[in-house]
């Protein structure tokens, strides 16, 4: 049986960024009301760059792997670069086709990170419509 790409399975079973201790500049939680999954993310900023990232929460393999792989993407990016990330970036790093049914699983951590940064800036938070699902 081969359900997901090996990357997804690996990062689901052994996440790198999950439950790390860090001196967070900002934290934020988002909930996927379709399935109840929750992502709590924390970021430490160094100037305008993402220096550290961690996430907590439980969910399916796609949501957990996407949250973990997001760390590889955002570390060392600027706040604006992270805010400009699209759903396609996440789909690409996951390496499989993401159906509409699983799109919120894949994007939950990205929404949490982008809203954490917007909260830090004092801006208006995004919702799912931002991603044109």
């Amino acid at each position: 049986m081969d359900i997901y790409a090996q990357t997804i399975l690996d990062r689901y079973k052994e996440p790198y960024y999950k439950d790390k201790k860090l001196d967070a500049t900002v934290s934020h939680s988002e909930l996927n009301r379709s399935c109840g999954d929750e992502a709590h993310v924390s970021l430490r900023l160094d100037g305008d760059k993402i220096a550290e990232y961690t996430f907590a929460g439980a969910g399916c393999a796609i949501s957990q792997a996407a949250a973990d792989l997001l760390g590889d993407v955002i570390i060392d990016l600027s706040v604006d670069e992270v805010l400009n990330l699209t759903k396609e970036t996440i789909y690409e790093v996951l390496g499989i086709e993401i159906s509409l049914r699983r799109s919120k699983c894949a994007l939950l951590a990205l929404l949490a990170v982008q809203n954490a940064l917007l909260k830090h800036r004092g801006g208006e938070l995004r919702n799912w419509t931002w991603y044109h699902l």
């Binding site: 049986m1 359900i3 997901y4 399975l9 399935c35 109840g36 969910g59 399916c60 393999a61 699983r102």
Partner: protein, 93 residues
């Protein structure tokens, strides 16, 4: 399904006290992943809260997988399901 020790049936354990809809969980495997795995074997079930989020919270479940059998299902299809559940369990462990 009770022959699979990793499957936890939700609700009455005695078939006399339940219908043909079976909610179940597998420790360490999210219901969506169970559903995705079964979908790969052309078995369509529903996974998640089933619009009963409050009950799921009360029961302490993140969700369940839910199998719905009907008069047109055959024993051979159930055998395929059981085999697929073993494969899913092995895949995630």
């Amino acid at each position: 399904m009770k022959t699979l020790d990793f499957v936890k049936l939700v609700g009455p354990q005695d078939a006399k006290h339940r219908g043909s809809i079976v909610s179940f969980t597998i420790d360490g495997i999210h219901p969506h992943d169970i559903a995705e795995g079964l979908s790969n074997q052309n078995i369509c079930i529903r996974g998640g809260h089933h619009c009963a989020q409050v009950l799921m919270d009360q029961l302490g479940f993140s969700g369940t997988a839910r199998l719905s059998l009907a008069f047109y299902n055959e024993k051979e299809e159930v055998d395929v399901l059981l085999k697929a559940l073993v494969e899913i369990y092995d895949y995630f462990n």
